[in-house]
Amino acid sequence: MVKSALFLIFCFYACSAFSQKVGAALECTATRTDFIYDCVIRLSKGGEPLAGAQITVGADMPSMPMAHNVKPVKAKPGMKPGEYQAKLDLEMLGEWAVKLRLAGPVKDQLILLYDFDEKGARPVTRAGRPPRK
């Protein structure tokens, strides 16, 4: 009984640690249609590309939470390991919190803050600090 409890506690913390070490970066370019972006998502874990993940990509505007209901899309595997492609249909330019929900080898949820403009997207930086991944 005690062993089982200890095992469960170990699993709980091990799983928590396991799920929090995925890194992600986004590279988006604007398409010819307003507010639609072709995005490449790069996932890594422990410095190595993370392949085989199933990613659902959503987005919300931090300044207008819950007001935009961007349709979540499934990302497709890209050209290189750890790369995934998705087409994001946003409703306006500005700062978006891109939500990546991962399934497959790693179950996780990552939030990436990017500023979308007429050309593409770049990570949001605030108060002189580097962007967080």
């Binding site: 928590s16 929090q20 209901n69 179950k107 605030r126």
Partner: protein
């Protein structure tokens, strides 16, 4: 269920807590532009309790509601001495102060080799209690709507009670209510605290749904939306604010052809609606008519 539908329904549920919170103050005769502050207080306090201290969500939610109620009580003490537009402006100022405090609030701890906790303008990541327990979006949707249903039933019961009648009396004519021996100030403070607790509950649920919050989430836009939902839906019954949220998000989702301009179009629609129905679609007259017809 489709991810998109689940997302929309969850957002409707989360917004409804804030709309009900604004509605509660409206029926007591006060228009608050600051309920987003208590939504934020709930989000931050609930997030800190689960992410940094490992408390279960139900306990964190109860604690966050208490903190939200206390914050609303403290804001209400000076602001409820004001009336009408002055009260609205004071609550807006208080909400902006709260948002700036969130921007200054840094309280992080290292958990599993990562710094977790509020980090000023950088936001608060890692509110993962729900996610780490494998709760799927459909399950979370059921949780949000279950709690909303409980809140709604509570509202409907209160509205049919003496307390509900007292609140409406205060809202309609505070001087007359005072002359009947009702302690208007005390009642309004209680209402403000209850509204704060309700907004805080919505905030906790929002934070755990998103796993990430930041001060900009709780700016004036959220407060205006919540107030608009209550006013659009109607002040005759607690179902009104929910109707307002459903209509707003439904109308916005149904007008995707306008892309980014749909917010502007919808703003115009709201203005027109409020000119013709200043107390909303389900106002007191409609509710009385419906009750007479169906009871």
């Amino acid at each position: 269920m489709d991810d998109y539908v689940v997302g929309v329904l969850t957002n409707i549920g989360l917004f409804s807590f804030l709309a009900l919170s604004a509605y509660l103050l409206l029926i007591a005769g006060e228009m608050s532009f600051g309920q987003q502050a208590f939504f934020g207080v709930g989000a931050y306090s609930g997030g800190v309790l689960t992410a940094l201290y490992g408390l279960p969500l139900p306990i964190a939610a109860l604690a966050a509601m208490l903190v939200g109620a206390l914050a609303a009580f403290l804001v209400g003490l000076p602001t409820l001495r004001l009336r009408g537009l002055y009260f609205a402006m004071a609550t807006l100022a208080a909400a902006e102060m709260a948002r700036i405090l969130f921007e200054l609030y840094r309280f992080q701890r290292e958990i599993d080799g990562e710094l977790v906790g509020p980090d000023g303008t950088q936001g608060f990541r890692g509110i993962r209690w729900i996610f780490e327990r494998g709760v799927e979006p459909e399950g979370y949707l059921a949780l949000v709507w279950g709690l909303l249903l409980i809140a709604l039933v509570f509202f409907l019961l209160v509205e049919r009670s003496r307390l509900g009648a007292t609140l409406r009396a205060i809202g309609q004519d505070p001087e007359l209510a005072r002359s009947c021996g009702i302690s208007v100030e005390r009642f309004k403070l209680g209402v403000a605290a209850a509204a704060g607790a309700l907004a805080a509950l919505g905030g906790v649920l929002f934070a755990h749904h998103n796993t990430y919050i930041e001060p900009r989430n709780f700016d004036i836009m959220l407060g205006v939306h919540s107030l608009a939902y209550a006013l659009i839906g109607g002040l005759g019954t607690a179902v009104g604010p929910l109707l307002g949220v459903v209509l707003d998000i439904g109308a916005l989702e149904g007008s995707r052809v306008f892309q980014g301009y749909r917010m502007i179009a919808f703003g115009g629609l709201v203005a027109v609606l409020l000119i013709f129905r200043p107390r909303g679609l389900l106002d007191e007259k409609v509710v009385h008519w419906l009750r007479a017809r169906f009871s």
